[in-house]
Subunit: 350 residues, 2 copies
DNA sequence: ATCGTCAATACAAACGTTTGTATTAATCGC
DNA sequence: GCGATTAATACAAACGTTTGTATTGACGAT
């Protein structure tokens, strides 16, 4: 465990000042070419690496970007996060930055966590999702002038860059798709109220139901877990003789519906219909294949990364034009299986 | 965007020295109680937060723990990672530390990345998985005396703490399960050679095949993607009239087998049998439900976190006794569906 | 020969902490 | 009431960088 190589160590060995070493390594024209080469040669030989903490202190920048892992995190946390972490880290490392990850326990804790990240200098910028109504995290970040990008619009849509999945369209799609062979009550199963993407989904779904002349669907606002999906579907399947339809905002919930159906001896596509969301791994292989919409995880990750980097490079603050709404694409129409006796894939999920 | 609150600022306002402020905040008995209270009151009022970079520089420790996201990262990267990130961050924050995430592009890049993390002081400890034969990352970390924990044993099992999933048992279980109604060739579909967990799996599977008196199974060493699973199954289903059995090391591969089967018009459970691994979300709902083994993601995450923290607290180096082999638990036996016409869940997946 | 110019380098301060040591002034023993 | 003790605080150095400024010596112009 030999001592770390520092500028000082290089300077001593070469009998020059640390400032000369520092400049030599950064190809400053003020150092004589021979000196520069000598310094660089030794630095390479000793495998010198600048100390991140010292640089951060001097620069007043941590060199890190934080990603907020929004609670609750469960096994089902959407696949987009891993995609995002991986993509973002690669983009960041190309610009000499690193990735920090923070996982709040509860939603209430998040605002305090964001404050800590910024005020302790744990990161210079933040990527966050699951935006909410009157989101205290956004309020704080705007106040402090911190660079950040959100997945999902906020109440201050022109004050910062964001990328959004068109959840309103997703809700519309789900209801429209389920409508075709609707034989019973329609259930909208969405994430808790106040979460913007869920509110958009519900709005889109309700509007479409109205357009189609349906009676007002039953609304469920719950955490997006398989357990919650199973609980709701279990309750409904137990009490009604009709054929309920479930528009679930995420496949995790839809998986729960499948589970409840299996437990109740009901057959999806005959005794109930289901529509999911986000095209989770495995949803292609349920029986029948889960109708869902795709969210282009890869593209979202790329966009968020690029926008974050652009925002970091930016000197002036606001207004920020990078607002992108990503389309949601209908995948599979297996809820029609009972009628058609044939499975029509609308688009392969690759 | 007012200036950050520093010790210096507090000191100036209170007309005392920064050292006094520093000591007051840390409840040093050398400062007079009244002074302490005065300092703490102002610090609270101005919401002072110590600067992480300055602390890191002074302490010679970054206060961060790195998690290596092993390549290739794809949508299917196992659910364990999110669980790990979330659990680890919560444990770390309790001890005033933070989480850094690094995603190498390729396996070859990983060793260099680890070197960078340590030599630039980007992290004080590392959690890594996907250990390999003669793993250069481990070699380096041992050399430098860096605290680290691995998911999966290494070639230096007594030199560092590790947690391992019993993949040998997993391979054995899969072959044993498939054996019961084996009507054709047995295929072992595992991750590339050199990856320890995959090597254990293959060894376990081959040994069990030998014990059962089976002919030598066909061996595939591929990346664990749905595409690879589909490619292999497609190839086999096209060329043979018999009923192949696939023991896949991960559900992602098994999902691929399902996809190929659907494409070929083959029915899983009749024209082929499949066994997966790691119990991915959704694997419960395939048709038939995917036989797989569980890996107790939550417990693994907890263990890795705890062991990492214990290792960090440790002053002396080695030997490290924290070596845990986690059992793999058989889930579902749906590959027997064709025979029994009944689905026997061995254990619910929660 | 002498002054200004310029190249090359050294010196020094700063970023925000922590911590060892020096200074000051009050208190105690006698 | 005077030296020793002690409580309270200030001073200073250090961590490893970066960067503004001062210093040195060599050279060309006058």
């Amino acid at each position: 465990m030999q001592k770390r190589v520092s500028l000082k160590m290089l300077a001593e060995k070469l009998k020059v000042d640390v400032s000369t070493v520092s400049r030599a390594l950064r190809d400053d024209p003020r150092v004589k070419p021979e000196t520069r080469d000598m310094v660089q040669a030794l630095a390479r030989r000793l495998d010198y690496r600048p100390n991140a903490a010292a640089r951060a202190l001097k620069a007043g920048q941590s060199g890190r970007i934080a990603v907020l892992l929004s609670p609750p995190q469960q096994r089902f946390a959407s696949p987009i996060f891993l995609e995002l972490l991986s993509t973002l880290d690669q983009h960041l490392r190309d610009t000499g930055r690193n990735l920090a990850v923070f996982a709040a326990r509860t939603r209430d804790e998040e605002a305090e966590l964001v404050r800590q990240i910024i005020d302790e200098g744990l990161a210079d910028g933040i990527v966050l999702g699951r935006t909410r109504k009157a989101d205290p995290r956004i309020r704080f970040l705007l106040n402090r002038g911190v660079p950040f990008v959100t997945l999902g619009r906020t109440d201050w849509p022109n004050a910062h860059p964001w990328v959004e999945i068109d959840y309103s369209e997703a809700g519309r799609l789900a209801v429209r798709a389920l409508f075709d062979d609707l034989k019973g009550e329609l259930h909208i199963v969405a994430a808790p109220e106040g979460l913007n993407f869920a509110d958009y989904y519900v709005a889109g779904a309700l509007k479409e139901a109205a357009v189609l002349g349906l009676p007002k669907p039953r609304l469920w606002r719950v955490e997006m877990t398989e357990a919650e999906g199973a609980r709701i579907a279990g309750e409904i399947l137990g009490q009604t003789g009709s054929v309920p339809a479930f528009a679930c905002i995420q496949d995790s919930l839809a998986f729960g519906v499948f589970r409840a159906a299996t437990a109740a001896g009901a057959v999806v596509g005959r005794d109930l219909t289901v529509f999911g969301g986000q095209n989770f791994p495995g949803s292609e292989h349920t029986s029948p294949p889960l109708s869902t919409f795709s969210t282009e995880d890869r593209r979202i990750a790329d966009l968020l990364s690029q926008v974050m980097l652009r925002r970091l490079a930016q000197t002036a603050t606001g207004p920020f034009e990078t607002h992108t709404v990503l389309p949601t694409v209908l995948l599979r129409q297996s809820h029609k299986l009972a009628q058609n006796e044939a499975f029509i894939p609308v688009k392969q999920s690759g």
